[in-house]
Structures are given as structure tokens and as C-alpha cells.
Symmetry: C2
């Protein structure tokens, strides 16, 4: 690993934290944190998601009831405007990170062309 790439990664990270996408997530998280109701709703949504993900990774079965409850919790969370705003801001920021991955993967994929 050359030393240079860390300079470029760190420069990218500095710019990343200055994007409007990053600022939007920061603002949206602050607003959820300041709203007791939104915060409680988001926490229960996220904790439930984590529990289900863990079950899935461990190959445990997820019952229809559990799934239905999870969907209702997700719907409830998303019906809160502050949480909805935060999830949308997250998605836009994830899009930026995905773009970085696409740009880096492209030359790697081209190495495998013809295989």
C-alpha cells in the first residue's frame, strides 16, 4: 500500500463531511434527537430491525407475526416527518458512498474483462 492513497482517502473524507448530503443528515439527526416522540419511535424501529437482522444472520426463523409487527413499526416510523426526512437524507448520503465504490470498482472489473 502506497502512502499516497491515505492522503487521497483523507482528502475525500474531508470533502465528504462538507457536502450538502452530509449536512442534511447532521441536521435531520439533530431534529430527531430533539423530538422525544420521534426519537422513541426511531429507536424502537432500529432496535427491531437489528434484532431481525441478527436472527436472519444466525439462520433463525422469523415468524409471520414478527414480520408483520416489524412492517407496522417501519410504517409508523416512516409516517413521522422527522424520521422520514432523516431516512431520506441517509439514503442520499449512502448514494455518495456507493458512487465512490462504483468509481473504484470500475477499473477492477475491467481487469476481469474477457474472463
Amino acid at each position: 500500500m502506497t502512502i499516497n492513497i491515505y492522503d487521497d482517502i483523507n482528502r475525500l473524507e474531508t470533502t465528504f463531511r462538507k457536502t450538502t448530503e452530509y449536512a442534511a443528515v447532521e441536521k435531520a439527526v439533530t431534529e430527531v434527537k430533539a423530538d422525544e416522540q420521534a426519537l422513541a419511535l426511531f429507536k424502537s424501529f432500529r432496535d427491531l430491525q437489528m434484532t431481525l437482522q441478527q436472527k436472519q444472520m444466525q439462520g433463525e426463523e422469523i415468524s409471520g407475526e414478527e414480520l408483520e409487527y416489524a412492517q407496522k413499526t417501519a410504517q409508523l416510523a416512516q409516517s413521522n416527518p422527522k424520521i422520514e426526512q432523516m431516512l431520506q437524507a441517509e439514503m442520499a448520503l449512502s448514494g455518495l458512498i456507493e458512487e465512490v465504490n462504483r468509481v473504484l470498482m470500475k477499473p477492477v472489473q475491467s481487469l476481469y474483462e474477457g474472463i
Copy 2:
């Protein structure tokens, strides 16, 4: 999205293609491509993996026999020194991309601290 971040992403990509990790994958792929036996072995390994991944994504069942055959194909492929070299080089390069993701995800995760 600010225009700046694309400059930084492109600069990172240019440096990325100059790393020893990238050069190692390029060299390893060239060597596999030039070796008929290694190439055929790698293709059958990769095609089988893709088929199984697709089945998994579509929720189709993968039989014990299929799994056993996939494991044997993987073992056979990895016992080829040129393929083994290529897979190790790939892993090292993936490590670089993962590092980029870690650096970018860190400030995002810190936004959620206390939630």
C-alpha cells in the same frame, strides 16, 4: 452534491490504480488468462458461484449435493497456484476499498452517537 467531491473521488481512483495492490491483481489476472487450465478452472468456479448466489437471492433451495459440488470446485480452483494468487490479490485490493468505506462511514456513525 458539490462539484469538489468528484475531483477527490477521481483523484483517489487515479491513485488507487497506481497501488501495488491494484498492480498485483492486474498481474495475477494476466497470468490466469494466459494459462488455459487455470482459466477454465476459474471460469467453472466463478460460474457455479454466480448460479448459487442467484438461487440464494431468489430464495431457491440449494441442495446438499449442489453445495458439496460447489465446495469441491472451490477447493480445486484454490489448489491452482495462479488462481490462489489471484484470489489473494483480490482480497488485498478489496481491503483497500473497505478501508475507504470505513473512513467515510466513521463520521456518519458519529452523527448517530447517543441515539
